[in-house]
């Protein structure tokens, strides 16, 4: 019983990590049709924000909003300077953001060196609940990720702004001809996408290494989530993260971690094959 509880909590924490990491990718893809290959690097930079906050001696939790702000600004700059020119051509955005990811990685290496860095866990230890001990930080991670993901998705779907967003997701051309200023929405989407990546980076920093290459490890997982969840509805990120987390946790539990990865990839192939996806912002 305890084992099952623990496995459920593991699944929940993996779900939280996947969802928060994939959120920005899903928003940018769903809304703009832009496949952002630099998303992993946004997460990596968020982790470096947490690292800098730690080195100057400030509280770790401060890094979460700070990373959001820093990455939002960076996202806006990138949207205005680069994405805006090409967002109608999906293949060009794939390549531009790939180049961008190389640049960001190298810049991080030049600024912070190749060395592995880390951010200490602000709340070490475990908490007892549901009859099991589970890391305190992961409880907080689950809570914060849930709040951020839910708040972002609500903002993008339920507000007045959300109405505009849904119109664009449904049919970009029609929305534009109806006088919706998609430029502003794109700016918001890309900025918010980057900001959530920053939050993700700051949140996962205490769980692993902070290094220039870290983004490469986050990108495939985020992609699987977005593919499995579907990108023509923003809540797909949550659904995708849930599915991938369940598959990963299950396969690791019953088999092993290597096949868990293959299983998630196979799942993505099947989803791509058998869903009829009408990609949202993507221009046919």
């Amino acid at each position: 019983m305890d084992a099952l509880t623990l496995e459920l909590l593991n699944g929940a924490s993996l779900f939280a990590i996947l969802a928060i990491v994939a959120l920005g990718l899903g928003i940018v893809f769903g809304l703009m049709g832009v496949i952002n290959l630099a998303h992993g690097e946004f997460v990596m930079l968020g982790a470096y924000v947490a690292y800098v906050v730690h080195t100057v001696g400030l509280n770790h939790w401060l890094s979460v909003p700070l990373a959001a702000v820093v990455l939002f600004v960076l996202g806006v700059v990138i949207e205005v300077g680069l994405i805006r020119r090409i967002h109608r051509q999906p293949e060009l955005t794939i390549l531009a953001t790939f180049g961008l990811s190389v640049c960001l990685r190298q810049i991080a290496e030049l600024v912070f060196s190749k060395d592995f860095q880390s951010v200490p866990n602000p709340v070490p230890g475990a908490t007892e609940a549901f009859g099991v001990l589970f890391p305190t930080y992961r409880y907080l991670l689950i809570a914060i990720a849930a709040v951020v993901v839910a708040a972002t998705l609500l903002a993008f779907t339920r507000s007045r702004f959300g109405l505009v967003v849904r119109a664009i997701v449904a049919d970009r051309d029609l929305a534009e001809s109806a006088g919706i200023r998609t430029g502003m929405t794109n700016l918001c989407a890309f900025g918010v996408g980057a900001a959530t990546a920053g939050i993700a980076g700051a949140l996962v920093a205490p769980l692993g290494a902070v290094e220039p290459q870290a983004g490469l490890a986050y990108l495939p997982g985020a992609f699987l989530v977005v593919i499995v969840g579907g990108y023509n509805r923003l809540w797909g990120v949550a659904a995708g993260a849930l599915t991938v987390a369940a598959v990963q946790t299950g396969v690791i539990h019953f088999y092993d971690a290597v096949w868990a990865q293959i299983a998630s990839l196979a799942l993505a192939v099947l989803v791509l094959q058998f869903r009829r996806p009408t990609p949202a912002g993507a221009v046919a």
């Binding site: 090409i86 293949e91 794939i94 531009a96 190389v102 190298q106 993505a268 791509l272």
Partner: protein, 579 residues
Amino acid sequence: MKRPLGYGATAAAAAAVASVTLGDFRAGQLSLFLSLAVLAVSLDLVWGYAGILSLGQLLPFGIAAYTTARIATAAPALTLPGLLVATLVGATVAAGVGVAAFRRRPTPVVIGLLTLVLSLTLEQVAEQWRDVTGGFNGLTDVPRITAFGSEWSDSTQDLFISVVAVAVITLVGLLATRPIGAVLIGIRDNERRMEALGYDTVALKVWVFTVGGAVAGLAGALYVHRTGFVSPQIFGFALATNVVLWTLVGGRGTIIGPVIGTLAINFASATLADVWLQYWTLATGVIFVAAVALVPEGLVPSLLRVAGRPPRRSRDLPLLATAPATAAGNGSAVFEATGVDKSFGFFKVLDGVTLTMDKPELRCLIGPNGAGKSTLLDILCGQQDCQNGSIIMLSRDCTGLKAWEFARHGVSRKFQSPQVIGSLSVAENIAVAAWGADPSPWRLTFAAWEARVLPASLRILERTGLDARAGSGAGSLSHGDKQWLEVAMAMAAHCRVLLLDEPTAGMTAAESLAAAELLREVHTDYRLPVLIVEHDMAFIRAVADRVTVLARGSLVADGTVAEVENAPEVVAVYGGVDR
């Protein structure tokens, strides 16, 4: 035909000379990078020409490389036939992926993601399947090519690989200059138009993906002989994106572009990576971003443009008149659409519409906006399916057939907003339409660079002055010229029924009347049945034998122009306002 051969021979000779004179190291690099250039060209064929962004061109490449490695290790004497096997393996892999992927008509982004995820899956599988793939470290000590009883030296093999690579690139270049090249561009630019011309675009995409896979497979075989090893990273993200980058920077949709892109970037990074270290990596990142943002069409096309010429120049394309098909409707009805229902969600667009044309005539279909006219036209040519009802076209039950099947059966269609192939010339547009009568990819590969066009189509070109501009790009035509070009395309081959959706949109009153006159002339001379969706009453009065009125998904009235204009139902529908 001759020019690419000439270039190819020159390039092969240059590669051979370079292989011999540059010294072992440079010759080795040249052969390595040329084998990668073959991979880039295979991507260019499917992406640059047919518009399929495949991030999984490494699937056929890598699987062929593994196959070649196993063959060469097990039976060194069979390395030369092994190249053919690798080519076939590449083709088979790509055909499999293509059949599975394109059947469901995915968007380009889905194709990109699917091929990428497949590639990454294969990387994992190659790591795990240790007995066959050698696991994480891969297969090493792959022998060089063995022929005439001995394993070749490095320099012999480098020479061979360079020359074969150039030869294959030349062959792909030749393919691109054949009719199939123009057809692939048509699919890239406007898949719907191509379907309405009789092209089974799904089958053609699978075909070009297969051919690309064969080329990639051969590239994989050359590559593995050249490098002597293959490891799972061959399926990895890094190479997948690099190939796309080389192609993009060089210029997709040209053959020389990706080759130059591959050679330039690889030579530069082999030379600069060790000198500049991290700055070189940063520089490559900046180059990518800059290339995409500033010269998205690629270096070679941009340079050509700067030099004042289009990247793809149209070649002299003879349009020959061919005998008109036997006119339709000898006694039997032209078409009979019976009880057609169509709804989108809860919104019923067509409600049990029955529309027939008994003899070849000029029929106009009118009705207020949202009456379902365009939808009905779509259903009559297979662009959309109907939920209920049957469509009998030219004595054949066509219910449920696809658009290209309708087109091959002789149903031609002009869309509401003019759909032409913007990257092709006027003559090429007509030719692509004419080739649609017999669009097997192999025939299109070997067919002559000329088209047999029905006289009706030629007459329209002549009368609208488009024949004098046969060499100019269709994308640069005015709206009205595009309309006429599309009408001429619809009538270019095997046209037995013509469906026109608002042919006079955007024309002045005088132009509309001239259009009506031209249509009547064509209709009379070739006994061609025509169904026209129109709003312009002046045009309708001038052109129509008979008018059918559609409102809110049902037929309201039917008869001559005069009869219909005075029918009370019609007056009610239009609220008494006569346009």
